[in-house]
Subunit: 206 residues, 2 copies
């Protein structure tokens, strides 16, 4: 897809559009966003946007597929030869870090899934599922070795996804309901401490 050579301007402007589109699509959803908004955020005319991308859908799908690799990465790093507790906690930390550093991407995905994942169902079943199944086998092994309590590996992973992505997807709710935390960092630190306590204590056999 990205094989044809591109000028500096093309590269720069396509990037500008993608950045703007992430901002807009993650905030208003696909149907709720207009190309005019994206164009304004990218500081160019609507026509220019269509010069670089063929359609609204093309931009949206490009965004989704571009960020999905980064989405799979944290799980890939789960090492079956490492210490179970350390590995799982490291995974939770990576996921939480993603919610902290790139909440827009998280919301973009959440939106897509919420609406039935019409554009990324093939990626879910084609890339994510095999990876997930593979890592769940590792968890299963750890459980059988008595290193973790006996839970469903798949649902444990779901729980980690849910608990970490919550801070990106429901950010405005979290912000509205918490006032004690001095700032965003303090809030994330408290979240991290709570997740660490519950996951590590919860997964360690007694």
């Amino acid at each position: 897809m990205t094989d044809t050579k591109q000028t500096k301007i093309q590269l720069k402007n396509r990037q500008r559009i993608m950045d703007a589109a992430l901002e807009i699509f993650s905030t208003y959803g696909y149907r709720g966003s207009t190309i005019e908004q994206v164009a304004q955020a990218a500081e160019m005319s609507k026509s220019s946007v269509f010069y670089y991308f063929g359609s609204k859908t093309e931009i949206y799908v490009a965004l989704l597929t571009k960020t999905i690799d980064g989405w799979l990465e944290p799980l890939k790093q789960l090492d079956e030869n490492g210490d179970p507790s350390k590995e799982i906690w490291a995974y939770v930390e990576r996921k939480l870090e993603m919610s902290r550093n790139n909440p827009k991407a998280s919301r973009l995905f959440a939106n897509e899934i919420l609406h039935g994942a019409p554009n990324i169902m093939n990626i879910l079943k084609g890339d994510l599922k095999p990876l997930l199944d593979e890592k769940c086998l590792v968890l299963k092994k750890w459980i059988e070795q008595g290193k973790l309590v006996n839970v469903s590996p798949h649902h444990l992973i779901f729980m980690i996804w849910a608990a970490t992505q919550h801070y990106a997807d429901f950010e405005v709710q979290v912000d509205a309901l918490i006032e004690g935390c001095a700032d965003r960092d303090a809030c994330f630190n408290e979240a991290e401490a709570t997740l660490r306590t519950i996951f590590l204590n919860g997964l360690l056999p007694r």
Copy 2:
């Protein structure tokens, strides 16, 4: 608001519209839904929909506010005089049950929050926050009495919300990634067992 007397037909048709609107709005989001779709789902003409509701927004807001009470209910039931573990687990169960029985309502809220909660921010801050703060004081008391591990009460609640609502909001992802479960009930039962193990084990001091 609902003080003026209504005929049987009004009551029935308004309900038909609300049901249809929940179906449509929860699937496609506010901007992604059209009144025509709602009308079709309610088996009446678009004009008739506008006869019963003044605008698209009015239907949407009516839906949100109508279901929000049911949303607060489970947390209200958390009893400070009960056994901490039992109370928290009962709360998790109630929340999970809501995801199972009314996933559309969950997705409707998720959508609204994801887009910045423009229509329910006042409810979040006005009704939910005081209730949440109150119950967090109860959790704090339990922690100080050494009945629970030391975590941030607010973040514990967030974790419960995230882990339970995930099964409604990300239903299509869960369905796409799990094949082992025979049916929907079996999946929820496995989820429940996993949540029980981690939360109860995780919250109990050693």
